[in-house]
Symmetry: C2
Subunit: 595 residues, 2 copies
Amino acid sequence: MTGTAEKPRARSHPRNSTALNISLDYTFDGLTGWRQFRVLRPCRGIYHDIRRRLPYYSSDITDAFTYRTIASTVRMYFVNLLPALAYTLDMNRRTGGSYGVNESLFSSALAAMVFSTIGAQPLTIVGITGLISLFNYTIYDIIKIYDVSLYARFMCWTAIWAAIWHWLVAIWNLCDYMRYITDFSSETFGMYVGIIYMIKGVEELVSLFDSYGSVDGYLSCVIAILYFGTVYTLEKIGNGVLAKPWARGFLADYAYPISTLFWVGFAHISGTLKRANISTLPISRAFYPTQPRDWLIDFWTLDVKWIFIAMPFGFLVMLLFYYDHNVSSLTAQAKQYPLKKPGGFHWDFFLLGCTTFIAGIVGIPLPNGLVPQAPVHTDSLTIYETDLQVIATEEGEGNEIRRPIVKASKVVEQRISHFLMGLAIIGTMTGPLLIVLHTMPRAIFCGVFFIVGWGSIENNGITQKLIFLFSERRFIQKGEPLLQIRRRKIWLYLFCQILGVALPVAISQTIAAIGFPVLVCLLIPFRWQLMPKFFLVKELEVMDDLTATNKVVLASLGGAPKLPDSSTADEYGLERRFSERRSGILRQRAGSYHR
Amino acid sequence: MTGTAEKPRARSHPRNSTALNISLDYTFDGLTGWRQFRVLRPCRGIYHDIRRRLPYYSSDITDAFTYRTIASTVRMYFVNLLPALAYTLDMNRRTGGSYGVNESLFSSALAAMVFSTIGAQPLTIVGITGLISLFNYTIYDIIKIYDVSLYARFMCWTAIWAAIWHWLVAIWNLCDYMRYITDFSSETFGMYVGIIYMIKGVEELVSLFDSYGSVDGYLSCVIAILYFGTVYTLEKIGNGVLAKPWARGFLADYAYPISTLFWVGFAHISGTLKRANISTLPISRAFYPTQPRDWLIDFWTLDVKWIFIAMPFGFLVMLLFYYDHNVSSLTAQAKQYPLKKPGGFHWDFFLLGCTTFIAGIVGIPLPNGLVPQAPVHTDSLTIYETDLQVIATEEGEGNEIRRPIVKASKVVEQRISHFLMGLAIIGTMTGPLLIVLHTMPRAIFCGVFFIVGWGSIENNGITQKLIFLFSERRFIQKGEPLLQIRRRKIWLYLFCQILGVALPVAISQTIAAIGFPVLVCLLIPFRWQLMPKFFLVKELEVMDDLTATNKVVLASLGGAPKLPDSSTADEYGLERRFSERRSGILRQRAGSYHR
C-alpha cells in the first residue's frame, strides 16, 4: 500500500450537504414591514417546528430496533441519574432538606416522559442540572433572611413566572437568536459549569467530614478519587486502539455502569471497609415527598407581595434555561453528527415551560437540558467507524504513519431510548429499587461530580488554546490555523473567556450567584458587538465557530445568522476543522463538552 | 521546509563507534591451555579494571563543575533516600524492629562514600533495595522458628559469608558472564521488582489500618494515591512538549522534591488534617542503633552450627547481588547513554564484598546496586536535546508531521554528585534533620512504592509487547519488527517471561522467598540453552537484546559475548532500535526500568 490509502475528506459533516430535504420556509430574514417583527407573528416558530418534525414521528419509533438503542438506554440511565442524584445531595443539604431523591427522580421522569413522547427533538436529554441546584439553594439563602417557611411557595411562584416567560419566548419566536451563539460563549459556559462541578465535588466531600466524621470522610475521598480514575481510564481505553473494536465499544458504552457497580460493591466489602459504615444516599418512602407535605404546593396561600417578588426570579430562571437548554439542544445536534431529522427549538422551549410549571406546583427541582450530558445521548446513538489513515512519508514504505481517524457514519435518531430511560427512572422510584440506591455511597456522587466536571474542562476550547500557547513552537504543525494569528490576540481572546468564567465562579459562593444567567447571556452580544472592535474578522473566524451550523438546526432557527461583511458561515471554525482533519471526530466522553 | 529536515540517524548510541580509546587487552576469548580458565588467573579482571579506570580519576572531579551535578545531587538524594526509608518501614515492621531509620541512613551513607570515592563506576548508585528487605525479613521468619535472639548474629554471619563469596567471584573474574545477560531476563526481573513494590505499598497501607486505625489508614490512602499522581504528572509534563525546555527540565529534575514537600506540608495543614494526627516515620536517637545495642554485633558468640548454616544464605545474598548489582551497573551504563569513561565490574564487585562485610558486622541492611534508581543517576547527568523531527508527507507542506525526538548528547561523568549525595545522607543522620524526617507521613513512602513500582511496570518490555499484541493490527506501522514474527511466538516468549515473574512473586509471601535469586539467575542459562530450541535465532534477535553492549562496558567484561552462528551482536534489539528511531530515547523517569 503506497500513497495515502484513505484520504480524509476535508469535512465529513453535512454542513455543506444539500441532500437533506428540510423545508426552509420559516425565516424572518429578508422580510419587510410588520412581517419582520417576531413578536407580531406569534406561534409562527412553533407551528413550523411541528409541521417540520411531525412527518418523522413514525420513523422515530421504527428506526429504534437496533442494538445501539439498548446501549444508549443503559448509558443514559446512568449518565442522567448519577449526576441528578449528586446535585440532589448538594441541594438537599443546602435547602434544609426541601429536595430529596424522590423529588429528583420525579423531575427526571417527568422530563423524560414529556420530551421523549411529544418533544420535537427527542435526542435532547432533559433533567436536573447543577445550575438549578445552585439556583435553588441561592434562593433558599435569600428567603432564609426573611422567613424560611415561605421557601416552598416562593419557589413555586418562581416556577410559575418562569413558565410564563418560557411560553412568551416560545410564542414570540425568540429562540431564533440562538443561531448567534458561538463557541466563544459556549466554551466559556462549559468551563464555568466544569469548575462549579469540581467545586461541588470537593464541597460534598468536606460536608461528609463535618456530618459523619473523619473515617467516613477519608474513605469517601479514596472512593471518589478511584471512581473518577476508573471511569476516566475505561473511557480512555474505549477511545484508543487497544483490543477489538467491539470490546472497546463495550467499555466506552458501559464505563459508568461498570465503575459504579465495582465501587459500590467495594464499599460493602466486609471487614475494615464495611465497619467504616460509610454514609450512603438518603432515601425516604417511595412516591411520597421527602418533607411531610402533599405533592401539590399550596401556592395560593402566598402573600401577593411575595408573588410579585418572585417574578424577576422567574425571569432569571427563564434566562438560564434559554441559554442552558438551547445550548444543550444545539450540542446534541452538533455539526459532527450526521443528523437527518430536524429539531424544533420553539416547540421544545414551549414544552419546557410546561414542565417548569408542573415541576413548580408539585415542588420538585425544575428540569432542563443537560449541557454536559445532552451530546452524550447523540454520541451513544452514533455509529462510529475507526478508519485507518495512512500517511505516506518520503522515507519509504516501512515508515508510513498510521493513525486512527474516527468517523461518525450514522445516528440512530429515535425516541425509544429516551422513553425507555424515562421508564427506568420511574422504576427506580419504586420501593425495592430505592433500597438499591440507598446502598450507594455518597462518595460515588463526588466522583461523578469530578468526572463530569473534568470532562467539561479537559476538552474545552479554552484548555486547548492554552495548551497551544504553552506548547513549544517548533513542535506545532505548520498547518495549524492558530499560527496565522498573533499570539497576543489569542491571549486577549482567552482573557475575555477567562473573565467570563471567573466572574460567575466568583459570585457562585454568594447570594449574587442568582445573577449568573445574566452574565452568561451577556456573552452573546459582547461577542457580536464589542469583540469585532478588537479583533479582525479573520481572527475571529479562526478562533471562534458558530455553534448552530447543522442545517437541520438552522431550519428551526430561521436560517443562517447574518454575519458581518466579508464573512460567511463556512469560513468559521478553521481551528476545529483542522483538528478534525487530523484526528477525526472526538468521541463525546461522558461529560466532555462539545468538541 | 520540504523533505525530512533532520533525518534521525539509524542508531545514535556508540555501539558501533570506534572513537573510544578503551584498551581491550582484558579478555579470555581465544586463549588456550591453562590461560583460558578464569579461576586460574585470579585478580586479572580487578587489575585491568583499575588500570583502565585510574587515568580518568582526576577528570572525574574536574568534569563536575556544571549545573547538572547540582540537579543530579538533589534528585538522587530524594530518589535514593525515599525508597530506602520506604523499605526500612517495611523491614522494621517485619523484623521486630531490627532495622530502623538510623541503620538505613548509615548503610546508604557507607555505600555512597565507598563507591563515590574508590568505585570504578561512580555512576552506579548503591543503597538499600526492596529485595534485601524481603531477604532480611524472610530470614527473620525462618530464624523465628528456632530462636529469635539469634537473628542479629545470624544476619551478621550471613553477611560475612556473602562477603567471602563476593570476593571469590571478583577474584575469579566471574563477572564476565554478565555479558550474556539479555533483556529477556532483565525485563523479567524488572517486572518482578515492580510488582513486589506495588504489593509492598499496599501492605504498608494495610498495616497502617491495623496499627493506627481507620482515620490514619484512609487518610494515608488519599495521600499515597495523590502523591503518586503528583510525581507521575510532573514527570509526564517534564517529558512532554509543553512550556520552555528549561521549565520542563526543572520539573523532571525536581518532581520528587516538589511532590514530597507539597504532600508532607499537606498532611500538616491545621484542622481536620492535623487532627487526624497521621502516623509518621519513626526515628530514634541520632547516630545510635535503633535497638539498645552497640554498633558492632557480637558475632563471635554465635554457635558454630549456626555459623555454617549461614553459609548457603550468604551464597544466596551473593547470587542476588551478582544479578542485582551488576544489572543496575549495566543499566547505569546502558547503550543509550553516550558514555566515554569505562566501568569496572570486577573491582566494584570486590568493593561490594567489602561494604557487605562492614554492613554485616555493624548490623545494618546490606547495600547493593539499586536497579530502578541506577539509570536515573546517569539520566540526571545526561544533557538531553529535544530535536524536531519533521516528516514530510505526500499531502504537501502544511501537513508535515512534527515530532519531538530526544537525543542524549553528553553525560557529565564524574564522582562529585554521588559523593555530595552521600554527604547529604550523612547530614540527614544528625539530630535536627532526623526530626525533619519524622514529620514525613508514612503514606508518602507508600506513594514512593507505587511510583517506583509502576515505573518498573509501565515501560517494561513485557508491557510493551502485551500492548503490541492487544493493539488493533491495522494501526501498527509496517516497519514494526515484531510484525516479522508469528504472533504465537511472541506469546510463547511472553509466556516464558510471565512465568519467570509469577514464580518468584508467588513464593515471595512464603519463606521460600529466600530462593528467588536462584530463580532469577536461572533465567540466563534458560535463555541461552533452552530457548533457541523453541525459537529461531532471527526471532530472538528481534524480541531480545543484549543488555551489555556499550563498548566501555564490554571492555571490563572481556569483550563481546560469543553468540550462536549466523548471529552478531549488532543484529539484536531490532525492536528497541525501531522504537528509538521513531520516538527517540526515552528519558529515564525515576523508577522506570531500563528502556
